[in-house]
């Protein structure tokens, strides 16, 4: 019986060591991939940091209207944020390459799925960035336009438009990431509809006097002050 136990133990040891030995090239490959990707990430990040510093990226980001980005960044530097994000992406890609070196179906499938998901992540990030730019542009357009026609609630209108576009962009990004599904659609519908209703009420109540003055003028009840003013610009 002891012989049989010894044989079984020896057999399991051999099998375990055999499996460990078969994993060893994969582990070495993973370490090598991590080392190489870290080196590439470091070189890449250093080059990028130098380029961004030379074009004064931190100041430009603030100029482009992304001043809040600095608050989220390490050491309040968007340059550092971008370079670190790029470096970690390179390291992650290296890690995934290393993982795929293990000839195991599960890890290979995981890597394939992760790589297949990557375009969605990139598209979602792009949607968020473009959405943010459009939101800022439209918010500013509405703010300037509303102030120029003397609307007291100009800022409210501008903030409403900004959130409207931002919510739309976030919903689109989540749709790309396939997160939430029906809940996101439902929440988006409620939120979007709520913002539109709030804006409509704000504009409707706020411009009540404006509309009545305009109608009175159209009906000839009161003369327009503007027409009476003897002002010419050119």
């Amino acid at each position: 019986m002891w012989d049989q136990i010894g044989q079984a133990f020896s057999f399991s040891m051999t099998r375990m060591l055999g499996q460990l030995a078969s994993l060893l090239p994969g582990i070495v490959a993973l370490i090598a991939a991590l080392l190489i990707s870290t080196l590439v990430a470091w070189v890449f990040a250093a080059t990028l940091r130098r380029s961004l510093t030379s074009i004064d990226f931190n100041r430009r980001v603030a100029q482009w209207g992304f001043s809040t980005l600095a608050q989220w960044s390490p050491s309040k530097s968007p340059t550092l944020l971008v370079t670190r994000a790029i470096a970690w992406t390179v390291i992650l890609v290296g890690f995934l390459i290393g993982i795929s070196a293990f000839d195991i179906t599960l890890t290979s499938r995981l890597v394939i799925r992760l790589f297949a998901y990557l375009p969605n992540v990139i598209a979602a990030a792009l949607v968020l960035v473009v959405g943010s730019i459009i939101a800022r542009f439209l918010a500013r357009s509405v703010l300037i336009g509303a102030v120029n026609i003397n609307l007291q609630y100009a800022r409210l209108l501008s903030v409403g438009v900004k959130w409207l576009v931002t919510v739309l962009a976030v919903a689109m990004a989540l749709e790309h990431l396939a997160i939430g599904g029906g809940i996101i659609r439902l929440a988006f519908g409620i939120l979007f509809g709520g913002i539109v209703l709030a804006l409509a009420l704000a504009v409707g109540l706020g411009s009540k006097d404006l509309v009545s003055r305009s109608l009175d003028r159209e009906a000839g009840k009161i003369p327009s002050q503007n027409v009476q003013e003897p002002v010419g610009h050119l």
Binding site: Q63, G65, F137, R140, S141, L143, I144, G145, V147, N148, I149, N150, Q152, A154, R155, Q225, N226, V227, Q228, E229, P230, V231, G232, H233, L234
Partner: protein, 422 residues
């Protein structure tokens, strides 16, 4: 340059003519009368000129379908011919400034093709057009050798405010010539200057983005052409559309700032300014008069609303000291509301620098100046409430001098926008 807007039969007629001495453009899309009226007015004005053999009249009343007016020859002088052709009406989407600029291009293109010696353009409400207007615009060119005749209008004290507060003093400070209306819109040009404007407009960097009206006076100043002014009398202006004031400002200031960018190498070396010769006499008793009241309170409210809401936009363009001054001004009581000349001038210069560096969208930048402009009008109206002609003149002169005095500020901001931020 654009010859496509001239109809084919009219183009053939121009080609048959071979050459001409004078071209006159008369622009007003709402001008419903026959082209013959313009031709008759031109003929009347030419009768007083001695050196004219052939003249071409171009109207933008869009009457291509009408029968062409064949070249007509006067009885006394068989070589005097006047032909007329028309430009298409501007599309519904075209702004007045754009359609006028396109009409300028067409007239200049025909003038260049015919090798004219002089060109007269009447673009301000030609319903009150008299032969004197055309005569005064082209006579200094044809008989006295001037290259540019800029208009000088008789105006009410609350008219021409953008010209008084920005265009005229800015042109004076930048290019060293004292013109009442550097952007016309009525002009008399020599063939030499016309060719120069044509060459410049078709240059590789400029293309169709340039507004010809904004570039004529500056081109003349930069090319050392002979410039003078002619008194044309009063011009009729459409009532102010307050709801679209920001569009007007963007359309007028945009090309002016763009021209500043193109001519930067020249104006940075200009010091001081000089008056230009003037011809004709101003209409007696009507200049800068007027007793009408202006709703100053509404303008001040617009300024205050802008100060409350547009800080985020203005702080991209204006230095902190100016923003502080504006905030202080927004808290001033209405009767003490005064925008100092130096502050106004620096704001204009800062917006010009911001336009150049595209710190924000150019359209946003130009439109965001509207509340400050309304503040400046309110300040001017309050100051000049009971002022006479002399006081108004000295007020305008003071502002023009402020533009000249602050030019070093502009040059510093232009050259070192980051390093020089007071």
């Amino acid at each position: 340059m654009d010859l496509d807007s001239i109809s084919q039969p009219e183009l053939e007629q121009i080609e048959r003519l071979g050459g001409a001495d004078l071209i006159v453009g008369i622009f007003d899309p709402e001008y419903a009368e026959e082209a013959c009226t313009s031709v008759a007015t031109v003929r009347e004005s030419l009768a007083a000129l001695s050196k004219i053999a052939r003249a071409v009249v171009i109207c933008n009343n869009g009457n291509h379908s009408r029968a062409l007016i064949a070249p007509e020859f006067t009885g006394e002088n068989q070589s005097l011919a006047v032909i007329s052709c028309s430009l298409p009406l501007p599309g519904p989407a075209a702004t007045p400034q754009h359609s006028m600029s396109a009409a300028y291009r067409s007239v200049f293109a025909v003038g260049g093709k015919l090798g004219v010696r002089a060109c007269g353009v009447i673009a301000s409400q030609p319903r009150g057009l008299t032969s004197q207007w055309i005569y005064r615009l082209v006579q200094p060119v044809l008989e006295l050798g001037f290259d540019l005749v800029a208009p000088r209008y008789t105006r009410h004290k609350m008219e021409g405010l953008l010209n008084r507060s920005v265009l005229s003093p800015l042109h004076r400070a930048l290019y060293g010539e004292q013109l009442q209306n550097p952007a016309g819109p009525d002009f008399g040009l020599s063939g030499k200057l016309l060719q120069r404007v044509l060459r410049q407009d078709s240059g590789p960097q400029r293309g169709n983005q340039i507004d010809l009206m904004a570039s004529i006076a500056s081109t003349a100043a930069c090319g050392a052409y002979q410039v003078c002014e002619a008194h044309l009398g009063a011009r009729t202006q459409p009532p102010t559309d307050w709801m679209n004031l920001s569009s007007l400002l963007a359309e007028v200031l945009g090309p002016t700032f763009l021209e500043m960018e193109h001519q930067a190498a020249f104006w940075q070396s200009v010091r001081g300014s000089r008056p230009v010769p003037r011809f004709g006499l101003p209409e007696a008793g009507s200049e800068d008069s007027g007793t009408g009241t202006v709703d100053v309170q509404r303008m001040i409210e617009s300024f205050q609303l802008g100060t409350q809401n547009l800080q985020d936009v203005w702080d991209r363009v204006l230095p902190p000291t100016i923003l502080l001054e504006l905030r202080k001004l927004s808290r001033a009581p209405a009767d003490q509301f005064r925008l100092p000349d130096d502050l106004w001038v620096r704001i204009i210069y800062d917006f010009a620098v911001g336009y150049r560096h595209r710190t924000i969208s150019r359209d946003h930048l130009l439109r965001s100046i509207t509340p400050i402009y309304l503040g400046s009008i309110a300040s001017y109206a309050l100051e000049m409430k009971t002022a006479g002609v002399g006081e108004i003149e000295s007020r305008i002169e003071g502002q023009s001098r402020a533009y000249e005095a602050n030019k070093s500020y502009l040059v510093s901001r232009w050259r070192w926008p980051d390093r020089f931020s007071p």
